[in-house]
């Protein structure tokens, strides 16, 4: 693999990593900082702030990881470094 390609590959990989890290920070921390105001909203009996910590963020984490696996794989294929 040419050095230039390597840099390009790593830049894309790193960008994806930072996007994931940003989403992780949002669902892991930021949203729960607003729990008191979110609790004003009640859906199906769930105060929304409570819901986000009990289920919402967890669902987001699962979806994020499947999305990440696909996305990173397409980067691998784009640069021809995927495994056979």
């Amino acid at each position: 693999m040419a050095a230039q390609d390597r840099v390009g590959y790593w830049n894309k990989t790193r960008r994806l990593m930072f996007i994931m890290l940003g989403l992780w920070f949002f669902f892991g921390y930021v949203i729960h900082m607003f729990v008191t105001s979110l609790n004003e909203i009640v859906i199906f009996g769930f105060p929304l702030g409570f819901y986000m910590a009990a289920q919402g963020s967890l669902i987001a984490f699962v979806v994020m990881l499947f999305w990440f696996a696909r996305k990173q794989n397409s980067i691998d294929e784009e640069f021809g470094v995927a495994e056979d």
């Binding site: 693999m1 390597r6 590959y9 790593w10 990989t13 790193r14 994806l16 990593m17 994931m20 890290l21 989403l23 992780w24 669902f27 892991g28 921390y29 729960h32 900082m33 729990v35 008191t36 609790n39 859906i43 199906f44 009996g45 769930f46 105060p47 702030g49 409570f50 819901y51 910590a53 009990a54 289920q55 963020s57 967890l58 669902i59 984490f61 699962v62 994020m64 990881l65 499947f66 990440f68 696996a69 990173q72 794989n73 691998d76 021809g80 470094v81 995927a82 495994e83």
Partner: protein, 661 residues
């Protein structure tokens, strides 16, 4: 060759996994139904309990024996042939310990919203595993986590420090698992606790000793299936009874409404859903605990090593996603479990509970209190029978027992829920089998992580590089047994701080390993000196805070009183207790010291950070020291930089080729 049959049938086994585990799941469900019928026909509860525990352990033993191996690659990384989805299931069982299964819903019951820090921390950590660490470790092709540290940071010093961190976090964790198996066997099989611990030990060894990672992988998949069924059934049952709809996760909303209404009616001010107000979790400690648990997840060697077993880097990434999905199934049920249990209890209290009618309404409490005084307390005393409750409540001046008068231990709530909600005994047996599966599977993974580090890193890599394969595998097995017996011995002494120690494992792993692992992949400039200094500093600060605030609280407070968030009243009380200790007569000194120490533990802290979140200090220190020392010393050689380039690219063979014959 002893492994002939299994090795030859291996291809068949992997391609038939779906069928094998479907039949297994069907068989397990049929077994539950059979037990229900037997129970209905009048077979005593005790026999049903024995059959649940005996049957499941027998299955694990059969899998363990069928998976025996004498090949190094099979023993250490299951031949790197475990498909992503099955590795995900095995990781789920590896990850969800006795504490998750038995203790999590109970913690949520008691702490309400603030307990959700555990749910968030123990799931969100997998995002870090997937994006920062696991795929790269898989590409490197390590057998153990210290293997990677040694290759990346040139030499055995980094490897040795890695082993020290690994050992200290995994050993306390495995002691807790064996303790949990002892508790469950003692309660459901009626064995003496010490005997029960060694029975649990036998169950663990039979799974892991003969087949190493290969055997552990396939038993963990089987254990996942048992534990998830055992967790979901009571939750679905409660949801159906209470709301008529068998989806506890969804109907949790209705339960929360019910709880809020009953809490308001009973004058409970701090509600279940109120944030940052239970058990000393202010917002700072809530978020720091989430951080420590997440980062710890991404650093615990027994979790990371599961991703060494996938066939490719791509599968390793997908496998992390599957792992989280399987873990998620339990973790998003836990808050519902807790809510339904709490709703049931509040209802019980609202129905007018008094010392006179408690024997009719909730006699299950007496059985648990009789098993262990600390499990159920009413009006501040162990609720062993109606007379004890009446006496305690009369003393406290309570005529109607309020919710606040009933003190349930977090660890009994899941195990007692079937009785609390009036389910048949067969569900209790199922829950016991599930709790045992959770504790055994985690213990297997941890023991293997420790034994592999000792045999592969210390014995093979550091002591005898020419050791023949057969001897390496024998050494590995002997060490596994030795470590297991040592852990069982420690567990049988019932160490007091067992649950605290489990949480410490996360902080220790996070502070000791995370910076070195992450910067090793993502920062080429990180070098040997930086990593070694960073690991020692991070781990050291973390350990100092953990031990200092817990076991040396008086000295810690005296030294750092300027940083403590103690209130003026707490400081005054401290001065008073200290004076009392100084003035105490010789025979009263021990008691005075104990009182002083107990109080000091509540105020010995830096900026009010709980002992549980010690990595809040160790982690940044580790990163900063590693950065600064790396910058101050020479950059890694061109050869090593090429190594890192190679590590970042999925294509190509694993980088560490082991001598396997």
């Amino acid at each position: 060759m002893a492994t002939g049959t299994v090795a030859a049938g291996k291809g068949d086994f992997v391609s038939n996994l779906g069928r094998i585990y479907t039949i297994y799941t069907g068989g397990f469900i049929a077994f539950i139904i059979l037990m229900a019928i037997l129970s209905w026909l009048g077979v005593p509860n005790r026999i049903v309990g024995y059959m649940f525990v005996g049957f499941t352990i027998m299955i694990y033993a059969v899998i363990g024996i069928l998976s025996r191996t004498m090949q190094v690659g099979e023993y250490y990384v299951a031949g790197r042939r475990v498909p992503a989805i099955y590795n995900g299931m095995a990781t789920g069982a590896d990850w969800m310990s006795g504490a998750s299964f038995v203790g999590m819903a109970g913690t949520l019951y008691i702490l309400g919203y603030d307990g959700l820090a555990f749910v968030l921390g123990w799931t969100g950590g997998y995002v870090l595993v997937a994006i920062l660490v696991a795929p790269y470790l898989r590409k490197f092709g390590a057998y153990t986590v210290p293997d990677f540290l040694s290759a990346r940071y040139g030499g055995n010093l980094a490897r040795f420090i890695g082993v020290v961190v690994l050992f200290s976090c995994s050993f306390t964790y495995v002691v807790a698992q064996i303790y949990a198996t002892g508790i469950i066997s003692a309660r459901f099989l009626g064995l003496d606790f010490t005997v029960a611990v060694y029975v649990g030990l036998a169950g663990i060894l039979v799974c892991s000793m003969l087949g190493g990672m290969r055997a552990v992988t396939w038993t963990q998949v089987a254990q996942y299936i048992v534990l998830i069924i055992a967790y979901l059934v009571p939750a679905i049952w409660m949801s159906t009874v209470k709301t008529g709809i068998p989806i506890p996760q969804l109907m949790q909303g209705q339960a929360l409404q019910g709880i809020a209404a009953l809490e308001a009616a009973q004058g409970i001010v701090v509600g279940h859903a109120t944030p940052f107000s239970h058990g000393g979790y202010n917002a700072l400690n809530y978020f720091l605990l989430i951080l420590c648990l997440m980062v710890g997840t991404a650093s615990l060697p027994h979790v990371l090593m599961r991703y060494f077993t996938t066939p490719s880097v791509r599968e390793a990434r997908v496998s992390v996603a599957w792992s989280l999905l399987f873990i998620f199934i339990l973790y998003f049920t836990a808050p519902a479990y807790a809510a339904f249990a709490k709703w049931t209890m509040l209802d019980l209290v609202a129905s007018g509970l008094t010392p006179e009618n408690i024997a009719d309404k909730a006699s299950w409490m007496f059985r648990w209190a009789a098993a262990d005084n600390a499990l159920v307390q009413i009006c501040g005393k162990a609720a062993v029978d109606a007379a004890a409750v009446a006496a305690a409540c009369a003393e406290a001046g309570v005529t109607n027992i309020a919710f606040a008068n009933i003190n349930l231990n977090a660890d009994m709530i899941v195990l007692a829920t079937p009785e609390m909600a009036g389910m048949p005994y067969v569900i209790s047996g199922l829950v016991a089998a599930g709790g045992l599966a959770a504790a055994l599977s985690t213990a297997d993974g941890l023991l293997l992580a420790i034994a592999n580090a000792l045999s592969h890193d210390i014995y093979y890599k550091m002591i005898d590089q020419n050791a023949p394969t057969a001897r390496r595998l024998v050494v590995s097995r002997v060490l596994l047994v030795v470590v297991a017996i040592a852990a069982a011995f420690v567990a049988s002494t019932k160490p007091a701080d067992i649950l605290a120690m489990v949480s410490w494992a996360f902080s220790l792993a996070a502070a000791g390993l995370f910076p070195a692992l992450v910067l090793g992949v993502w920062w080429k400039r990180a070098n040997s000196a930086g990593a070694i200094a960073g690991m020692i500093a991070g781990f050291g600060v973390c350990l100092y805070y953990l031990l200092g605030t817990r076991y040396g609280a008086i000295g810690f407070y005296e030294m750092w009183s300027g940083l403590s968030t103690a209130t003026p009243e707490a400081i005054a009380k401290y001065t008073e207790l200290k004076a009392a200790f100084a003035a105490a007569a010789p025979d009263a000194q021990a008691a005075a010291y104990a009182a002083l120490d107990k109080h000091a533990q509540t105020i010995a802290n830096w900026w009010g950070v709980k002992n549980l979140s010690a990595a809040a200090f160790g982690l940044p220190v580790g990163f900063v020291v590693m950065y600064v020392v790396s910058r101050m010393t020479k950059e890694p050689s061109a050869q090593l930089q090429e190594f890192i380039e190679e590590l970042r690219v999925p294509r190509g063979k694993t980088m560490m080729e082991e001598k396997t014959a």
